[in-house]
Amino acid sequence: MVEHQEIARAAAAHTVAPAGWLAWTILFLPLAAFLAITFLTRKSKLLSTSLAIGSMAIGLAATGTLLLHLLRAGEHAAYQYTVNWITLPGLAVEFGLLINPLSVLMSLVVTGVGLMIFLYSIGYMADDAAYSRYFAYLSLFAFSMLGIVLANNFVTLFMSWELVGASSYLLIGFWYDKPAAADAGKKAFLVNRIADFGFLAGILMLWSIAGNQLDPKTLNLIELEQRMPGLIAQWGVNLFSPLSIAALLIFCGAVGKSAQFPLHVWLPDAMQGPTPVSALMHAATMVAAGVYMICRVFFLFGEVPGALEIIAVIGGFTSIFAASMALVENDIKRILAYSTLSQLGTMVMALGLGGYTAGMYHLSTHAFFKALLFLGAGCVIHAMHSNNIWHMGGLKKAMPVTTALFFIGSLALAGIWPLSGFWSKDEILALAFGKCKILWTVGTVTAGMTAYYMGRVLCVVFLGEQRDHHAHPHEVPPVMYMPLIVLAIFSVVGGFIGIPSLLHHAKGVHVEFNKLVALISSAAAAGGLLLAFKVYGKQPQEDPFAVRFKGLTRLLTSKYYIDDIYGWLNTNIQQRTALVSAWVERNVIMSFLVNGTAKITGLSGSLLTKFQTGKVQAYALSLVAGIGILIYVGWRCIP
């Protein structure tokens, strides 16, 4: 029972809705690939690869078709395809897709970057024994991620959200015989569990206040959007209204998935997974799901200013907090991981300031250049068999292509004109400049720090002379650098292909290009880069920063002791609570309540068996006595 509904909007009235199978194909092909690889083609590398890559390529093509439809239909177009899933009195859950500019943009990022990373994986994972399993998991992830992107209601969204968590767990722990990888998978899963609890509570809260006598309760995003004015009138928008609380609870989900402070701890550890996985999930797409989800539900977030302020502060804090840890990190992938945290924080900050377009814009450009950087790091790791930047050095001679591509990615991340990172970051900074000078300062300082730590990586890894003379680095095969070239092209031109114009109809604040802000942020970026080249350009054998600022370095390398604090809380609070609970469970619940009930029953049973003498005449006597009592009572009580 498939219903195709077109949301009738003035601008879209004269166009024909794209066929529903197009949207369903994007979502379900990767799932089909996952099932086929798992059950049929596991033995054949070639078949498994072509299934996974084919499903992504078709998904990309279908997304492109949808984009053309939307462009023709005008910017207000939105199409919805639903199947009724669970229909009960008072509860109708549907499984549905919502195609609008936002979801198509995100879907393009997921399928586009995803396709490049799938291709890259052919080279990177070529020698791995579990090659087919890897592609099966990647396909499962693509299905779940596209589920989040396309979902038209909270149930589908939450389901995909959890599936993404599961596939993330599987892929972080892909090399499960490595204890660190298995632990990192567990950590990611558990931290996300905490966040998802809040998310679920938020969804349920929104559901419970969304209905009234006329309209049944709903979780459909479009329905909710249409009901927002009524809900605002009914509940108000101050910080303690149910709407604000629901928004903050839903934001909890984003805090987990997009690794915002204080639940950021899982992301650096997640780098234990294969590098293409880090690129796809923990840089470009999955961690962006939180930001995307806020945009998707922006009709709610945009109306609750109190909650938005909290979101902006958390985002701003995360961005500078994570950038500071990247300054002293020595593992190339973890540097990029902290940088991802920091950029996600910037995006969340933009959303908190109401900059829906700016946030999504930065998300898209970031997906390109961060995937590029991660894959570049993957090439370096592939060549050097080490993650530590102090074992590398002088790679520009051995790996010129990778070096050039990594430079492009780094400069885009640092926000150097005219690369894509400049435009998107600038939009956020201009927004912050107009709204909150403190957050603008934070953003600008973060931009400088970003440039500095990327300059550090460039100097230490690619410039100068080789430090470790046992390694013999070599350029990677074309299957690995060709996808990087595509990503590099998008990192360069990402600022000119009109991503914001796709979203400009949306709610939220629009920002004009601000020359002063652009000048200051460029100066910060250039300053950061120059400082890094000055400090690290002289080919040091160890980190001069760490030598100079010992205390600060210790604070930063121990990640502000946050992991230790969580560890302490675990062993001292959680563990002890667990012990007390176990004691209560054993002694109060088990021996008193559960076994106590059984004992009382047994005792009264053994007392009552004394009356069961087996003597018929004793029974007859008690029968007579009983009747006697009844007659006496009847005689006394009934007048």
Partner: protein
């Protein structure tokens, strides 16, 4: 003149005699006999009311009771015979197998 009260008194006396017999006698045959006395006490009450009220329903029920009593005695005596065969006695106190 024999009044309803006399008849009911007779009925009550028979009922109580039967009841006491049922509870106190140890021989199973005597218990069955006492049960018959109880039933007959009840029968007399039925007949007495039937006579006093001029309604035959009570007498009809008495016939039913007599038939049931006959059947009951048949089954009861058969059980007594089997008990003698199997256990060699008819003392109700010794029959404690229906115990937990």
């Amino acid at each position: 003149m024999i009044s309803l009260t006399h008849l009911l008194a007779l009925s009550g006396i028979l009922f109580v005699i039967g009841l006491i017999g049922t509870i106190t006698r140890r021989n199973i045959i005597m218990i069955l006999l006492s049960l018959e006395i109880i039933l007959n006490g009840v029968n007399i009450a039925f007949v007495a009311f039937s006579y006093a009220l001029g309604n035959l329903t009570g007498q009809i029920i008495v016939f039913f009771v007599m038939i049931v009593a006959a059947v009951e005695v048949t089954v009861g005596l058969a059980i007594a015979v089997v008990l003698v065969q199997q256990m060699g006695q008819t003392n109700a106190d010794e029959l404690k197998l229906l115990k937990w």
